[in-house]
């Protein structure tokens, strides 16, 4: 447990370890991605230092609740900034208010306190008072609320790990980063560190096992940096929950952008088709050309290609790996429909090469590098995720050398 908390501090102290991967291809895109989720880089690079005094997570607000924890409120708002204001929204209703004088004093005192103040009784008391005020205003003592400070728009996300649920509110959310409130990568690290510290303090057993620690880290990543995997979430990954990402879905439903890492605009299908036509120039038979053109469009719309195209939009390593597995599974199904018995690698690899070529991912090598460097749990590389990633790498290598490229 103590070791794990040390690593939290070190993540803050060692914000970005980019040297190892910055020389990868497509590094510009990777850099952009890493700026938002570089917590794992320190983890991976083994640059975690002892005894480094962490920077304080100012203005990071965390709402935690855990029913089985005796002595802790059902939910509480931690106003680290000590401004003493709260704003709550629930089911379309919006309320705002101020902490009472004693609570505000406690919050301000806590804000001046050294790191670790998240655990102080005073701050907890202040948070409980704020929570109680918000609950009274909304007349909902048990409901979960989305809470914002008056001058710091934030986002409430769920963090679910090991059956312990935490609600996280942070202005370092992608929405705030996009709005210009903060653009430095350290801010994201501060938020991650604060959340992780709070999570481990309120539920120490999470830090006891590597599995739950990894699940916790992944959940926090998803909460802080956004995880656009909601639509195809199969619920099988650690920490997955239907609740997770609901804030993101709500914003999307309201027509707001989904996060700081918006996917690059996809090429219109027509452009792909035009390229396909150019490639097939010289085909004399007009009917054959039309057929071939339709075939190219079909390939471009194939589920496997769609999975591959979604890669750059995935924000976490696990999400990217799942997209790759999805692409392979879709390919296997496509091959099965073509009456290929017992699809093996001999069938799958050429088909994957074609799908990768058709997907026209702009930064494929960055996707591979990201998945490798930011996967929290490297054991996944032994399994089907690793197989999918390796297959994708091989397809890229084969396509990179024209002599190895599959026939078009």
């Amino acid at each position: 447990m103590a070791e794990t908390v040390l690593s939290v501090d070190a993540v803050v102290a060692t914000p970005v370890a980019t040297k190892r991967w910055s020389l990868e291809s497509d590094e510009v895109c990777l850099q952009e991605l890493v700026r938002r989720s570089n917590v794992a880089s320190a983890w991976r690079a083994g640059k975690i230092r002892r005894g480094v005094r962490p920077a304080r997570a100012r203005r990071c607000k965390i709402q935690c609740f855990h029913n089985s924890l005796v002595g802790f409120a059902d939910w509480a708002l931690l106003d680290v900034d000590g401004r003493g204001e709260w704003r709550a929204t629930s089911a379309g209703r919006r309320e705002r208010g101020r902490l009472d004088a004693a609570a505000a004093d406690a919050a301000r005192a806590a804000a001046r306190a050294p790191p670790g103040a998240l655990d102080s009784a005073d701050l907890r008391d202040a948070a409980n008072r704020a929570a109680a005020g918000a609950a009274r205003a909304l007349d909902e003592t048990k409901a979960k609320h989305e809470v914002h400070l008056a001058d710091a728009p934030g986002t409430l996300r769920s963090v679910v790990a090991d059956n312990v649920e935490f609600e996280v509110l942070t202005e370092q959310s992608p929405a705030c980063a996009r709005a210009g409130a903060t653009t430095r990568p350290q801010d994201a690290l501060l938020a991650a560190r604060a959340v992780l510290e709070a999570v481990f303090k309120f539920h120490p057993p999470l830090g006891d096992r590597a599995d739950s620690t990894v699940a916790c880290l992944e959940s926090i990543d998803a909460a802080l940096f956004g995880d656009d995997d909601d639509s195809d979430d199969d619920g099988e990954r650690p920490g997955a929950s239907p609740e997770r990402g609901r804030g993101l879905r709500r914003r999307r439903a309201a027509g707001e952008p989904g996060g700081a890492l918006r996917p690059r605009p996809r090429r219109a299908p027509g452009r792909v088709a035009r390229r396909g036509r150019a490639r097939r120039r010289g085909v004399a038979d007009a009917a054959a050309r039309r057929d071939a053109d339709e075939g190219g469009r079909r390939r471009a719309d194939a589920p496997s290609v769609r999975h591959l195209r979604s890669l750059p939009a995935k924000r976490s390593a696990r999400a990217k790996l799942r997209a790759l597995v999805g692409a392979l599974e879709a390919l296997a199904e496509e091959l099965e429909k073509r009456q290929i018995d017992s699809v093996a690698s001999d069938d799958l690899m050429p088909a994957l090469c074609e799908a990768v070529r058709d997907a026209r991912i702009e930064t494929p090598h960055a996707q591979v590098a990201f998945a490798k460097h930011f996967c929290r749990d490297e054991r996944v590389f032994l399994g089907v995720d690793g197989y999918a990633l390796t297959s994708f790498e091989i397809a890229l290598a084969a396509l990179g050398d024209p002599s190895r490229a599959p026939p078009s």
Binding site: I48, R50, A332, E336, S342, A344, P350, F381, L382, Y387
Partner: protein, 226 residues
């Protein structure tokens, strides 16, 4: 007791029966041979009867298999099929990295396929080193009458490179269980040897969960001027 997870790569020339071995071993399926009588549409084909589509949707390209080791430990094999086409041969090392074991398959009726095994062994030793456990499988022993690879040569070669040699027949379901069981035992033993007893359940050697490393004090650079 933790389940030991091992990555096993399956290598072999085209048509030596890699896919058949894999499906027969993991799913109990038999891939129909060319001389089999025609069957009804493939969804109703007998060899599909035991398919467990929920286990793997990548079919024969990647399969998981769990088995019990002699020491009462459980092992989970992640079996990676590899593309046999010539254009992917040079990319094989990407498949091999971090592999705990390899099953090299040749066809006893095809000497050329045995020659390829030598090449893969060299490559595996070069890329992964001595840590990888290798089993060489002479497949299609049901075609013993057409044997083209002398038994003594195959056995001597396997012994000379520290590999185990087994004979298999996917068609007759012969030797498959033994081949993978023996390979798993050796992989577990090697992992225990390299990382101490009880380490077999841990993931790959280069993997760790949280590592806290003190930064070495950087030596002060000397002034370039002298």
């Amino acid at each position: 007791m933790p389940i030991a997870r091992f990555k096993v790569v399956l290598l072999g020339e085209g048509r030596v029966g890699k896919t058949s071995i894999l499906l027969r071993y993991v799913k109990g399926e038999r891939v129909p041979a060319s001389d089999d009588p025609p069957t009804s549409p493939r969804r109703d084909a007998p060899h599909r009867r035991y398919s467990d589509r929920q286990v793997s949707t990548l079919q024969a390209s990647y399969l998981d298999k769990r088995l019990s080791l002699r020491a009462g430990q459980s092992a989970s094999l992640s079996i990676w099929d590899t593309a046999g086409q010539e254009r992917f041969h040079a990319l094989g090392p990407i498949y091999y990295r971090d592999a705990d074991g390899a099953l090299l398959v040749y066809d006893i009726t095809d000497f050329e396929s045995f020659q390829k095994v030598r090449k893969w062994v060299r490559e595996l030793r070069q890329i992964v080193g001595q840590e990888i456990a290798i089993t060489i499988a002479g497949n299609k022993v049901d075609l013993e009458s057409s044997r083209a690879v002398p038994e003594a040569e195959a056995l001597d070669y396997a012994a000379s490179v520290g590999a185990t040699h087994v004979y298999t027949s996917a068609k007759l379901n012969k030797g498959l269980e033994d081949a993978f069981a023996e390979l798993s035992e050796r992989m577990a033993t090697r992992r225990n040897e390299t990382r101490g007893p009880g380490a077999a359940g841990l993931p790959g050697a280069k993997r760790s969960s949280i590592s806290i490393v003190d930064d070495p004090v950087a030596p002060k650079k000397k002034d370039s001027c002298c």
